[in-house]
């Protein structure tokens, strides 16, 4: 079913429309919140708040616009605002689940161990980035958004988005280098 139709049905209070919207977006928004905050509990709270906001502002949605980008903009704004209010950087990120870390296409046990360690270091390193840089790298490299979509979500020119992603990646690479230095 077309997304705009689902949104219209939600506005009319049609049975099952909200559930369909949740099935389409809950995982995406939850993952964005989890990757951004690093804490499962925090992510669950933020996801609920984001969808509550969505429910309250659904009537304001402009059907000429892209719904996914609109929802992700709402999610991004909420996550960054809450981050500024509560300063999550002072809190520790959850230990990344080893079963999750071990997933992916790995060629051997040695590579698996190195990748596991790298992912754990990168996961912790995300907290050392500013909220804007963290959001940029998450949208591009973890969520796989195109630069054009990101420009719409972040409300920035394409060139600024590209340069922000580049700076965020370099900062993360520096964090990895530093952490590797500490470990060896």
């Amino acid at each position: 079913m077309d997304l705009n139709t689902i949104v219209r049905e939600c506005l009319e209070g049609r049975q099952g429309a909200w559930e369909t919207l949740m099935n389409t977006y809950a995982k995406k928004v939850f993952n964005l919140a989890y990757q951004f905050s690093g804490s499962r509990q925090e992510a669950e709270d933020r996801t609920q708040e984001i969808f509550l906001k969505l429910y309250n502002s659904l009537a304001k949605f402009d059907f000429q616009k892209n719904f996914t980008a609109w929802l992700l903009t709402l999610a991004k704004n909420h996550l960054i605002d809450e981050y500024r209010k509560t300063k999550w950087e002072k809190t520790q990120r959850d230990d990344f689940d080893e079963r999750v870390l071990a997933q992916g296409s790995l060629s051997g046990p040695e590579e698996s161990l190195v990748q596991k360690e790298t992912r754990a270091l990168i996961w912790d390193g995300l907290n050392q980035l500013s909220p804007e840089m963290r959001m940029a790298v998450i949208l591009r490299d973890l969520q796989g958004r195109s630069y054009e979509e990101m420009a719409e979500i972040l409300g920035l020119p394409l060139g600024t988005v590209k340069s922000r992603v580049n700076r965020a990646r370099i900062a993360l690479a520096e964090v990895l280098k530093e952490k590797r230095g500490e470990l060896s």
Binding site: A26, E44, T47, Q48, L52, Y55, I122, L176, K177
Partner: protein, 167 residues
């Protein structure tokens, strides 16, 4: 190529967005600059690790809470709906104006002046009433004495009647 330019073009290079000539320039720079070559290697590793993060499933409990959002809103809506009735708007407007006026009187420093002025007016009004009451009292007294005078005058005007009575 400078190291700054190399850093600026890193993501575009890794994503294959550079022209062949720019790509060759990047490779030539990395071959001569060990710190940029190291950065490129760490960046490749970082990107690889980021791409490998799988998506996490939201819990059933969270999904149940998300599904229940419209129900929750529907439950709370009728309770406060009566407050949003249009015919209550003038009442809210009147109360708002009253509260704003009262806040001027009670919370602003200038409000104390207003309070004093009100007190003065009340006292003036009270003293006016007291004066009126006092005047009214004196008028009653005067009326009483006037009545006595009139009675005495009548008595004095009819002496013959008094003598007849004696007889």
């Amino acid at each position: 190529m400078t190291c700054e330019r190399f850093e600026e073009l890193l993501s575009a290079y890794l994503e294959g967005e550079l022209s062949a000539a720019e790509g060759r320039e990047m490779e030539a720079h990395a071959a001569t600059c060990s710190s940029c070559a190291e950065l490129l290697s760490f960046l490749r590793e970082t990107q690889g690790a980021l791409r490998g993060f799988p998506e996490v499933e939201p819990s059933q409990a969270l999904m149940a809470k998300l599904y229940a959002i419209p129900e929750k809103k529907r439950f709370f809506k009728p309770v406060f709906d009566f407050l949003l009735r249009p015919d209550l708007q003038p009442v809210f407007a009147t109360f708002s104006v009253l509260f704003i006026a009262l806040s001027f009187v009670f919370f602003l420093p200038q409000g104390r002046g207003i309070q004093k002025a009100i007190n003065r007016q009340i006292h003036l009004g009270y003293s006016q009433v007291e004066k009126l009451y006092a005047k009214a009292g004196s008028v009653t007294d005067e009326l009483g004495s006037f009545k006595n005078t009139v009675v005495d005058s009548f008595k004095a005007l009819s002496p013959s009647k008094g003598q007849e009575d004696k007889k």
